[in-house]
Amino acid sequence: MKIVADRDVCIGAGLCVGTSDTVFDQDDDGIVVVLVEDPEGADADLAREAVSLCPSSALRIVD
């Protein structure tokens, strides 16, 4: 699995960072940064949860 973030539509809500701060971060402007593009194990589960929570649909999973 690969996590892809669309930084143009991100609204900086931070739910992804709140879900996993090992997989996701926010830059100084609050916009998402993917730290681990291909998370595994428990991180992969958290990444999937973050994708489903993202309010602006800025995150998606590419297989």
Partner: protein, 413 residues
């Protein structure tokens, strides 16, 4: 002369903590029902979790800006004044205008920024608990704890003098109260606007370290008109700055404070769960999410307007109609969560939509979460014998307010 308060629209009706049975009936039957909106206009009420999430996620077909086409009854303002009053009001914009405005503020609400605020919030909570303890039992939890903590936090963050609190706390509470006649609410909105314009002028003359000062330093513009700004300018106009700051001041007052008051009462009514939040440091994170879900204090976000013909839950809705999302109903949808009417702080997670969803998802959510995660356990630890001083049926709920809560909560300890 007093006027009888208007009949509450269906989406605002509650039985203490719970949405009324009729709302659940809409959700369990057709899912979408023709209702009368808060301002007496016809609207479609969407009651199921998945449908509400779909509507909120789709800013293209469900517009926040188009509501401006509807004029409110008894509104004496000129078109020019309304345009000025709407500058910077993110909740009345769609992308890309919304994206431009929101991005001025996202740096201020990152998870990292919130962590830096944490020690100051702990200090503010402790000061208010000290004052309550010094004054002694009994006390009204709303003016001594639930309201002043988020009020002081948002004031310091924004750069609004807390010394003016009596003035703006009164104003923010009444502005969103449906039982107050519309002309008075508009007058309060005008006063609030004038107050904020004065603060913006002060911040421009001498920008401080607060959010207003930051916005002036990084994005301040002289002589830029709002029309030019809406073409995607990196600068923010004075009108927009006053609008953004007004929105944050109201939002910072009317949300977390009601969660702190109503949430404390909910815990007092569930003593085993209260004990868990008080005694187990790991309990508070899920507890805040479950309290948010179960209480869903925002009845509905801003009404959306359909920009084209749509279908929701099999119901055809033509272009140009109002759509309201019933957040308490959605958060108690059995297809979203088992046993939805039960409060169980152990199971809380972030999948609820009490903060909304889509591009208008609550900007202040990370701040609200942090305030609640600090304030609830601190209150319960300081006063382990906290109890309501009134029988449950005598506690005054804020039925007519756009955001649900308690007028007061007398407590003993």
């Amino acid at each position: 002369m007093t006027q009888a308060p208007p009949e509450l629209p269906l989406h605002m009706r509650r039985d203490h903590f719970d949405p009324v049975a009729e709302l659940a009936e809409v959700r369990e039957s057709e899912g979408v029902r023709r209702v009368t909106s808060t301002f007496g206009m016809p609207a479609w009420l969407v009651a199921r979790h998945d449908d509400v999430r779909d509507v909120l996620a789709d800013a293209t077909r469900f517009s926040n800006a188009s509501q401006l086409a509807f004029s409110l009854p008894d509104d004496p303002r000129s078109a020019e004044e309304k345009r000025k009053a709407l500058a910077g009001q993110m909740l009345a914009t769609d992308p890309p205008d919304h994206t431009r405005l929101r991005r001025f503020l996202t740096p201020e609400f990152t998870v990292r920024r919130m962590r830096r605020l944490e020690p100051r919030i702990v200090e503010i909570v402790d000061q208010h608990l000290d004052a309550m303890e010094a004054a002694g039992s009994p006390a009204d939890l709303v003016p001594s704890f639930a309201l002043p903590i988020p009020s002081l936090v948002i004031c310091e963050l924004l750069g609004v003098p807390y010394a003016d609190r009596d003035e703006f706390q009164h104003r923010t509470a009444r502005q969103l109260d449906l039982s107050i006649p519309m002309p008075e609410r508009i007058a309060l909105q005008r006063e609030g606007r004038a107050y904020m314009e004065k603060l913006v002028a002060g911040a421009k003359a001498d920008p401080g370290e607060d959010m207003l000062g930051m916005l002036v330093r990084e994005h301040g513009a002289d002589g830029l008109s709002t029309a030019e700004a809406q073409d995607g300018a990196a600068e923010i106009t004075d009108d927009e700055l006053a609008g953004l700051a007004s929105l944050l001041l109201v939002a910072g007052h009317e949300t977390t404070s009601n969660m702190l008051g109503l949430g404390t009462l909910a815990l007092l009514r569930h003593p085993d769960q209260l004990a868990l939040v008080r005694d187990d440091p790991d309990a508070i994170v899920p507890a805040v999410e479950e309290l948010m879900r179960w209480l869903s204090i925002v009845h509905t976000g801003v009404a959306r307007t359909t920009t084209q013909d749509v279908e929701i839950a099999g119901q055809h809705i033509p272009k140009g109609e109002l759509v309201l999302c019933a957040l308490p109903s959605a958060n108690r949808d059995p297809s979203f969560i088992d046993d939805p009417d039960t409060l169980d702080v152990r199971r809380g997670s972030m999948g609820h939509i009490a903060f909304g969803h889509g591009v208008h998802h609550c900007l202040g959510a990370p701040l609200a979460r942090m305030e609640m995660r600090i304030a609830f356990p601190a209150l319960l630890k300081r006063f382990p014998d906290l109890a309501s001083a009134l029988p449950f049926d005598e506690i005054p709920f804020r039925a007519y307010h756009f955001i649900y809560g308690l007028h007061s909560l007398p407590v003993t300890w």
